[in-house]
Structures are given as C-alpha cells and as structure tokens.
Amino acid sequence: MASRLKIVQREYLLLAGLIVVIAAFFSLTTFAAHAYHRKQEQFGEGWYQRGEQALKQSRPADAVEDFRNALAYSRDNDLYRLRLAQALMADRRPQEARSYLLSLWEKQPGDGTINLELARLAAMWDDRQQAVRYYHAAIYGVWPDEPTAHRRQIRFELSEYLLRRNTIQDTKDAQAELVALVAELPPQEASGQTRLGTLLLHAGLNARALAAFRAALADQPNLMPALKGASEAAFRMGEYQTARHYLLPIVAQDPKDQSSLERLNLCELVLKLDPFARGLASREQARRALRDFQLALARAQKCAVPVTAPASQPASQTAAPQGDLSTLLAQANSRKPKLRERVLAGDPAVFEITMELTFKLEKASANCGPASLEDKALALLAQPSEAAR
C-alpha cells in the first residue's frame, strides 16, 4: 500500500513538474512573442509609411517594394495587401495587382473598395461582364465611411464605362444607372448634378439632363458647364426659348465663345422664323410662313442647279436627289404666285399645306452644300420637337 502511494505521488510530482516547466516556457514564449510581434508591427508600419510616401511622390515601383516588405511582416493585413495592389496598378502591372485583389476578394467578397478596383481592372481589359459584376458589387458593397457618396461615384464610373462602349445595350444599361443616380443625388450638389446631366445628355435622356442642369444652376446659377449643358439639352429637345435663356448668360460671361454665340443666334433665328410659336397673331403667322417658304424655295432652287464643286467635296453635299426635289420644286413654283400673307392668314388649310411643302423642300435640300444660318433654323423647325415626338 505504501509503495503504491509512493508511486502515485511520484507520478503526480513528475507530471506537475512537467506542467510547471511548460508553464514557465509558455510565459517565456509569451514575453518573446510580444517583443517579436511589436518588432514586426514596427517594421510593417515603417515599410507601409514608406510605401504611402512613395505613392504620394508618384514612385509606384518603390511603393510596390515597400508594400511588399510591409506585407511580409503582416501577411494578413488586408490594408497592406490592398495598397500593394493599388501600387501595382499605378505601376501599370494590372495582372499582378489582380492576383492580390482576387485573394482579398476571396476573403471579403462584399468589400466596396476591392470590388471597385477589380471592376476598374475588368473595365481596363474591357471585360464587360466582369466589370459590370464588380461595379455592382462595389455599389452594393460595404464601405466603412461615406457609403452613399461612394455608391454614387461608382454609379457615375459605371455609367461612364458603359457609355464609352457605345453600343445600344450598353447605352440602355447606362440609362438605368443614371436614372438610379437621379434619385440618389441630392439636388444641391451642383458639381454632381452637372456630371449627371452631362452623362444623361450622352445617354440621350435630354429632359432628365435638363432637369439635372437646372438643379445644378439652382445651387450655382452661373456654373458655366451647367449653363452649357442646360442649353444643349434644351436645344436638343427643341426648346429653343429655354436654350436661348441659358445661352444668354454664357455669351455674356464669355463673349469670345463663338460656338455658343452661333448657337444663340441660331436659337433666336428659329424663334423668329417659327410660325407655330404660341401667341402669334394670324397675320404674323402668315408672314413667317411666307418667309419660310421663300427661304426654302430659294435653297431648293440653288440646290437643283448643280454647282461645280471642288474635287474633294462629296457629291451628296453638292446636289440633292433630283427626282424628289424636282417634283417639290415644281409644286412650290406653281404655288408661289398665289401665296400672299392675306391668303395664308385667311385659310388655315393653305397655311398647313404651305408649311408642309416648306419643310419638305428644306429636308430635300438638307445635303445640298453648306447651309446658311436661316436654312439651319428652318431645318430645325422642320424637325418634330421632342415633346411632339
């Protein structure tokens, strides 16, 4: 019994001794590990700061090496990994960057920044499917700060990418993104609204573009890009009065802006030639209709007699299709002697027929050499307005 007790005691003692040794070793290792990790953090942070500095100084190649060093001390540091990927992208090494981004993405598939960088890479390689996928993941992804602002920015970027591709499907998809942006963007953000308006214009959503520019101008009335955008949107919509409204301050601010000046003159001429403008007396309507008719006829007659064009000028610009034009000219010449302001004012049917013939003449001579400002205005009048469309 005594010997068994002795054995048990010895067994306990030996095990206890072993546990004490392990505990002591554990404490020692804890102490050493603290020092080790402190040193590692120090090195990692030092290299990271150097990398940031290098990036700021536009030395991406150095930044890549620095971030690599930083990453060696903190393999799981996603920030270091992300910055390394961004430095690689800045150093034009997208393939290498992609690999790091993908490993980050594996770990955080919902992270906004990572998805955005991957989307940019895919966009760079024009991998539409992946680009749209990553852009959307970025839009709906996690952003640690200012998530709404980030999402808006990415929608802008995605829309720009799609519009750059310039296909019907891409334009449609871009329109959807832009419509979402219209709802998301606060009206008082003048620069954002201007950017949105520009993209909407690009996507062919003129009315929404005009609204965006108006919102921008409500915040900053003299914002030149917004004024120009608004005038363009209104002009495309056939809202010449509105276009003129926005063109006037542009020209006032910058009288040397020839294109705006020309556009303003054109708008004013359209407004002056338009027989359908609201509130006109029938006499004035008739006067404008007659003038439009005469202008169209003169251009058509000029067009019907082919001029000797320079060799470089395409034939389509020197003569209209003779068949149509000749018929129209014959009709117009037969009508011309009977047309008087009084007749036009008194008979709405004659007025309608005359304007119809005028527009046909103008369209038929559209490709007939350089048009005068009045002809341009008349051609614009001949187009159905967006509202009418």
């Binding site: 554990f26 290792t29 799981d76």
Partner: protein
C-alpha cells in the same frame, strides 16, 4: 552514434495511478504544447536572426548577401563538428533512427543544437527550411519527457514520433498533414493508440502555434476555379514537370552528398561556409533563393513573376538547396521542396496561359498545385502532399488538380528514382532504416497463395468414411473431417480407424475444433493460427461449411520460399 542507455521497465511502467495508455495520451497533449512552444520560439529566432543579418527589407543589402552566409556558415560548421554532430541533415531520418534503432532516444543536446544551428543557417540565408528541424525538435522534446517519466520501452519508442508530429504540425500550421506524414513516413502503421496520441499532440501544438503566431494558413492563394475540364490536362502536365524536377533534385543530392562526405574531416569546417558563399553569389541576382522563401512563394502565387523568372528560380533553388543540404548544414527540405514546386507550378501555368489564355486559371493555383506535386515527388508522401496543399492554402476547391498532379509526379519520380530521398539519405549514412514506401509496395502473400485443394486424401466426411483398409492406406496421421452439422474439424488417423470399424463411442464422434482460415487471409494470420496443427481448413467466407482448401506449415513456408526476397530486401549497391 553510440548506443544510448535504454531504460528497462521503470517505476512508472508497472502499476500506477494512471494506466500507461492514459498517461501516454495525456503526455501527448503536454508534448504537443511543449513542441508547439519550441517551434514558435524557433520560428521567431529565425526571423530575428534574419533581421539582424540582413535588415528588415525582403531584398537584403548587397554587401551582406555573400558575406553573411559565408561567415555564419563557418560558425554553424564549428558548432556542428565540435558540439552537435547529430544535428546534421533534415531531422526526419534522425527521428526514424530514434524510433527504429535507439528505442526512442534523442539526446537533449541534439534539441539544443538543432535549434541553434538550424536557426543560424536558415536565418543567414542557407537554402533550407525550418519544418524538418521542427519535427526533430518536437521528437527530441518528446523523447526527453518520456525518459524523465520513465515510460516503458514500447511507449518510449512511440513518443518520439508523437513529438515529431507536434513539431511538424506547428511548423506548417497543418495538423492533418503532420499526422499523415508521421504515420506515412515515420511510424508506418495505423493503430488506434498511436493515431490518438499523434492527433492529440498535433492538435495541441497547432493550437499553441496559432495562439502565438495567428490562425491564418501559410499561404493565401487567390481563388481557384477550373476554367474548363480540359484544364485538368494542364495540371497533368504540371504533374509530369513536377516529377521530373523532383527526380533532378533527388539525383543531385544522391550525387553530391557522398562526394562531400568523402572529403577529409577538416573540410567539414568549411563546407557550409562555401555553400553559403555560393548561395550568396546566386542571391546577388536572385535573393529569392535564400532562406526558406515563403514570401516569394506567396509572390509567385500572386502572379508577381514571369514564367521565365519562375523557371530560373526553380532551377536555382534546386542548386542552392543541394549545395546547402549536401554540405551538412542543418536544415530541412520541406520548405525548399515547396518553393521549387511553387516556381515550377507557376512557370508551367505561365506557359499554358501564354499558349491557351482562355483556358488557364489563376497562376496561384498552379503554384499551389506545383507545391504538392514536388512534395509528392521528392518526399514521396502522396497522401500528405494532398492534405498539405489543402491546409497551407485553406482552399479545398483545388483538390481535383492536386490529386491528378501529385499522383503523376509521384509515379514519375518513383519510376525514375526508385529509392525515396529519406531512404537514400539513411543508406548514405550507413543506416538500415525501414523504407515505408517500399514496405507499402511489398506484395502481401495470402492463404490462397499457399493452400492446396481439399482432396479426399486430406478432407473426409464423417457420414461417408472410407473402409478401414482404405483409410489405412492414406498418407499422414491427421485429417480434416466434416461432422454431421457441416463443421470442418480435425481428427487423428487412429480415431478415424476406430470410427470406421464402429468401435468408437458417441463421444469419440466429435471432431476436434480447429481455427479456420479464409483464402484472403494473409499468411501472417495463417502462421499465427496454425500453431501445432498439422493442417488447417480454408473455408468460404459466405459459407463456413464449404471447404475451399487446406494449408499446412510446410505449404506456408513453401509460398514464402517461392516468392523470394523483394527488390529492396536485397543488398543495396554502395553509392
């Protein structure tokens, strides 16, 4: 290595408060913790030495690249030759030696020596890895603890591999691969007791390692996806390339190591330094080959090198590792193997991307699969190689290419270099350690290889016994007899004659119970069962009354004689 003092059954091997088996399992956990702590310290020491020698940047200062490995090589050589002669090599064979030759004995000085010299060598840029030394340190600690606790000889033998599994698991942060490696390469057999102890030790060491160094896998490879089923062919090509690279590596060590070992003893002071200088010269242009190189493996997985650079790095790493290892510098082969694999894999992936850009997945996957292929090809532990890749990457989706590639690399390496590297090294050192790979390949002799058909001369039925005069004429004095219930037993000739002449009582009609065999039983089982019986019945597994053969001791011995010795059992030609 002189024979160490082997404890006989000590005071703790007899009656005790805890049974030996329970104590063994408890010790496995403690050894796991102990080994885990040692490995954590070992890895921190290597890093600390690297910072001291080369600074904190990945790219070492040029002036130190040649100087440091040379100078530290001199110091390491001095320590090894003068104080720790047993720490040469990787540590795997030394652990096997402890198990098979020295009854689990690994001296304490070996643990200290391995720790110091390997840390110095790897920290100074020798192209070696810390895993095999970790394995030996773990085994050494386990042996030390086992001796202090006066375990029985049997358990003392097994405790070293348990510590080895703990050390390896902590070094790689891969418990499954460590358990498999130790079972596959060191112990060579599965049994519940050993497996339980090895698993407990591996798990506890990994817990400790993760506690101190973090739980993330060794590598974070970018996402793998199979671009098309045809891409598996590309991984097959990688397996072939891996097998060839493994063959080159093993053959180079096979050639150079004996040459350097044959040099005069004084050269041992210089060889690690010379290897260090040569590696430093390579490092001037390609510093990636210096040290274990985990950072560069990570970079290879992240597409940071062109396929040409990857190919060059693979070749240079083979050269550098052969130089370091053959010079007798202590350090492991695992990390270099993975490095070479990552570079070969990346290079193959890069070429395939060049040729078939739309059918090639991420390069990281190729680098990862390449690691497994080289591991299977060089270290010849195919199961371990599969699980190692899964564990170091934490990516289980890649298993299909890994299996294909590893299997091919293993088969090619086996056919071109039949002797596995650890067996080669042990034979070069004059040790006859069991080759577990070769043991796996030995054809098992079964009862069906030895049994004879059950002719009426040896197998009789009680119901239709021949007349006494016919029985008299049968050779032998013992027969298999089937009783009325169909059971096959035995009966002597005398008893049978009594029965045949109707002189036997009812009690005599009973046949003697015999152990039965089945045709698929191994001859080892047959040997154990046959005892002193002249014959044993071989019966059908589905019908115990159906006799399919008979077997005697002479039949068994004849079967062994016919098979002859296996190839690896013949004397090995000298290198």
């Amino acid at each position: 290595m002189s024979a160490p003092p082997v404890p006989a059954a000590g005071p703790m091997s007899g009656r005790r408060f805890l049974g030996e088996d329970q104590l063994f399992l408890l010790l496995s956990i403690l050894i796991g913790v102990f080994a885990g702590l040692a490995v954590v310290c070992f890895r921190m020491s290597i890093d600390a030495l690297r910072w001291i020698f080369f600074g904190s940047g990945l790219l070492p200062p040029r002036q130190r690249v040649v100087l440091v490995p040379g100078a530290v090589g001199l110091l390491v050589a001095f320590l090894v030759v003068r104080f720790f002669p047993r720490v040469r090599g990787s540590g795997v064979n030394q652990t096997k030696s402890a198990l098979y030759i020295y009854d689990g004995y690994i001296p304490g000085s070996t643990i200290v020596g391995k720790f110091i010299t390997s840390a110095l060598a790897i920290g100074s840029g020798q192209s070696l890895g810390p895993e095999d030394p970790s394995l030996q340190i773990g085994a050494g600690l386990a042996s030390l603890v086992g001796r202090r606790l006066k375990l029985s000889r049997q358990n003392l033998r097994l405790i070293a591999p348990v510590g080895a599994a703990a050390g390896l698991a902590a070094a790689f942060n891969t418990p499954i691969a460590a358990v498999l490696f130790v079972i596959e390469e060191v112990i060579g057999r599965w049994s519940a007791g050993v497996l339980g102890a090895v698993v407990l030790a591996a798990v506890s060491s990994v817990v400790v390692e993760r506690w101190f160094l973090g739980a993330e896998p060794l590598f974070r490879a970018p996402g793998y996806r199979l671009e098309s089923p045809g891409e598996l062919l590309a991984y097959a090509v990688l397996g072939v390339a891996g097998g060839l690279a493994a063959m080159v590596f093993v053959k180079a060590i096979k050639f150079l190591r004996p040459l350097l070992k044959a040099l005069p003893r004084w050269t041992q002071y210089l060889l690690p330094a010379i290897a260090g200088v040569l590696i430093g010269l390579i490092g001037l242009r390609f510093p990636q080959v210096m040290g274990a190189g985990y950072e560069y493996m990570d970079q290879a997985m992240h597409d940071q090198y062109t396929w040409e650079v990857l190919g060059i790095l693979a070749g240079l790493k083979i050269l550098a590792t052969v130089l370091s290892f053959s010079s007798g510098t202590p350090g492991g082969l695992f990390a270099p193997t993975l490095f070479i694999g990552a570079m070969v894999g990346g290079a193959v992936g890069g070429v395939e991307r060049l040729l078939f850009p739309h059918f090639t997945g991420p390069l990281g996957a190729y680098a990862l699969v390449g690691m497994g292929a080289l591991f299977a090809g060089i270290l010849r532990a195919p199961m371990t190689s599969v699980f190692l890749v899964l564990e170091v990457s934490g990516n289980y989706a890649i298993i299909l290419p890994v299996i294909i590639s590893n299997a091919l690399a293993y088969l090619i390496s086996r056919s071109l270099q039949p002797t596995p590297i650890f067996d080669l090294l042990s034979r070069q050192d004059g040790l006859d350690l069991p080759s577990l790979e070769e043991d796996r390949e030995v054809t098992l002799l079964r009862v069906e290889d030895a049994m004879r058909p059950p002719t009426p001369q040896v197998a009789l039925r009680l119901e239709v016994l021949p007349p006494p005069e016919a029985l008299e004429g049968l050779p032998g004095g013992f027969f298999l007899v089937q009783d009325r219930s169909g059971y096959w037993g035995g009966m002597s000739k005398a008893k049978l004659l009594e029965l045949a002449s109707d002189q036997a009582s009812d009690a005599d009609v009973r046949v003697q119970q015999l152990p039965h065999l089945h045709p698929d039983h191994s001859l080892d089982v047959a040997m154990r069962r046959i005892g002193d019986w002249p014959l044993l019945p071989v019966v059908h597994r589905a019908d115990g009354n159906k006799l399919v053969g008979v077997v005697s001791l002479a039949d068994i011995l004849e079967a062994y004689r016919k098979r002859g010795p296996a190839l690896h059992e013949l004397p090995e030609p000298a290198d």
